[in-house]
């Protein structure tokens, strides 16, 4: 674009004529995201209490290996923690959560909704609409490292796989071990009994909310039909585009609901496993 002759004054940080509580929304987003990041990081480092009977925490699913020196839970795809994987890297423990959390974490970090939200809440870029910024320079998403936000669609592919995995987990959460047997034993012996417990419902709601978030993704909306200029003669693609667009309109709500529920699901499984909460039976 050619040079212009526009001279405007530089506004100071927080300068605004707004009289509403403009700071409240970024503050709530900041506290909400910070709470989730702190909790999920803590939970990922634990390497324990990530399963309870038929339930597997979504922060550890898919469980490739049991945590280092952890007893068999019946959920691991490839058994115990392998010898070729270190139990810790420069003193920081490595748990099964770290093998998988990069995918949903990357999906949320590069999500168009979250980007707008955390640019405001964490970087004040801007703090809110019409409010002066603290930074003088600005590079946007044109350069390294933020140009990498454009890989969102690749995280989407992984996120869709996770929906299937977590749906399988929700289905398996309906099949419980008989009294006196561990889940791992009962699964090996194929003696699981059908039953619906509170935890089952918690695990069923989880992929529903995550599905609402993932299948309303802006990148999916583009890939499924948004890239086209003509929909006529392709009613199937138009319907798919409309479905994704419908979910996309509530993308922020789905994002928050699914985020909170993932955290709650892990907390539920963890507290049941620790014996703090009782998993009440509804059917079975």
């Amino acid at each position: 674009m050619s040079r212009t002759n526009i001279s405007l004054p530089q506004r100071s940080f927080g300068e605004t004529s707004r009289i509403d509580a403009w700071w409240s929304q970024p503050l709530i987003v900041f506290l909400g995201l910070l709470a989730f990041v702190v909790y999920s990081t803590w939970a990922a480092f634990q390497g324990a209490h990530y399963s309870f009977g038929a339930y597997l925490s979504p922060m550890y699913s898919p469980l490739f290996f049991e945590a280092y020196e952890h007893a068999a839970t019946g959920h691991a795809l490839f058994g115990d923690w392998p010898k070729w994987l270190p139990a810790a890297v420069i003193g920081i423990p490595l748990t099964p959560a770290f093998l998988i959390l990069w995918a949903p974490g990357g999906f949320r970090f590069t999500c168009y909704y979250y980007r707008g939200a955390y640019y405001k809440a964490f970087w004040g870029d801007p703090s809110n609409c019409g409010v002066g910024e603290w930074r003088k320079g600005y590079r946007g998403e044109r350069w390294f490292p933020l140009v990498f936000q454009n890989i969102h669609r690749y995280f989407l592919y992984f996120a869709i796989l996770f929906i299937f995995v977590l749906t399988y987990d929700a289905f398996m959460a309906m099949w419980h071990a008989p009294d006196g047997m561990t889940y791992a034993q009962a699964k090996t012996d194929s003696v699981l009994n059908f039953g619906i417990k509170v935890g089952t419902l918690v695990l069923i709601i989880n992929p529903i909310l995550l599905g609402g978030y993932t299948f309303g993704c802006h990148s999916l909306r583009h890939l499924i039909g948004g890239f086209m200029d003509k929909f006529s003669g392709n009613s199937g693609r138009k319907k798919a585009y409309d479905c994704v667009s419908c979910l996309n309109r509530g993308h922020a709500k789905w994002a928050w609901a699914s985020l909170i529920w993932v955290g709650f699901t892990d907390l539920y499984v963890r507290l049941c496993s620790m014996g703090v909460w009782t998993d009440w039976t509804i059917i079975g």
């Binding site: 674009m1 405007l8 009289i19 600005y138 946007g140 669609r153 890239f227 138009k238």
Partner: protein
Amino acid sequence: MPQVTFRISRGSTHQDSQFVDYQTDITEGMVVLDAVHQIQEESAPDLACRWNCKAGKCGSCSAEINGKPRLMCMTRMDTIPTDQPVTIEPMKAFPRIRDLVTDVSWNYEVKKRIKKFKPRKPDAPDGTWRMQQVDVDRVQEFRKCIECFLCQNVCHVLRDHHKHDEFSGPRHYVYTAALEMHPLDTEDRIKDVKDEQNIGYCNITKCCTKVCPEHITITDNAIIPLKERVGDEFYDPVRKLFRIFRPGK
């Protein structure tokens, strides 16, 4: 009739402006533009204010009311608190001409540089085209734009970082999206969207969407789809690979 204080920014430049308080009576059904006209009539005949249709369709009376970019003619007095002075300022992303009037001509210059509509060959011998409604649903939303430039004004890339030389702003992404998604159009503007309009500066704060008086979903329906199209062309290694093996596609 309650009397309300209006704190209006006056001056010939943003740098040398000052707030001046005016009191005027407010009656039922009034909008902010009515109050400004009443102030002009009663106490400040030299107060400059641009307006035209008074119906939210010409996009002339854009201003900042209590710090929020809005059309003065569409802001009813009963929707804003009147127990404290009502602040009225001009748009801050453009040079001020006088009082509430700003020079928005930069927008027209930017618009001229966007590649024009280039339709395919006519479908019928009489030189006309055939389109399905389903194909133009998306772009019809963008045609609602009244060019009030409130979205440009609230965009922090222009407002705070003054990237007028590099960044075209949300209004022009809406315009570009309307052309780019048009079923008859054959022009390719994606490289320009990336390199000339610099869409990478947009960090999706959605402020433009929030202030649009026509309720155009600017971010979700125009900017992000354009970002995705830029992604297709420049940031998707798998697609790049496909293009190597399927040149011309």
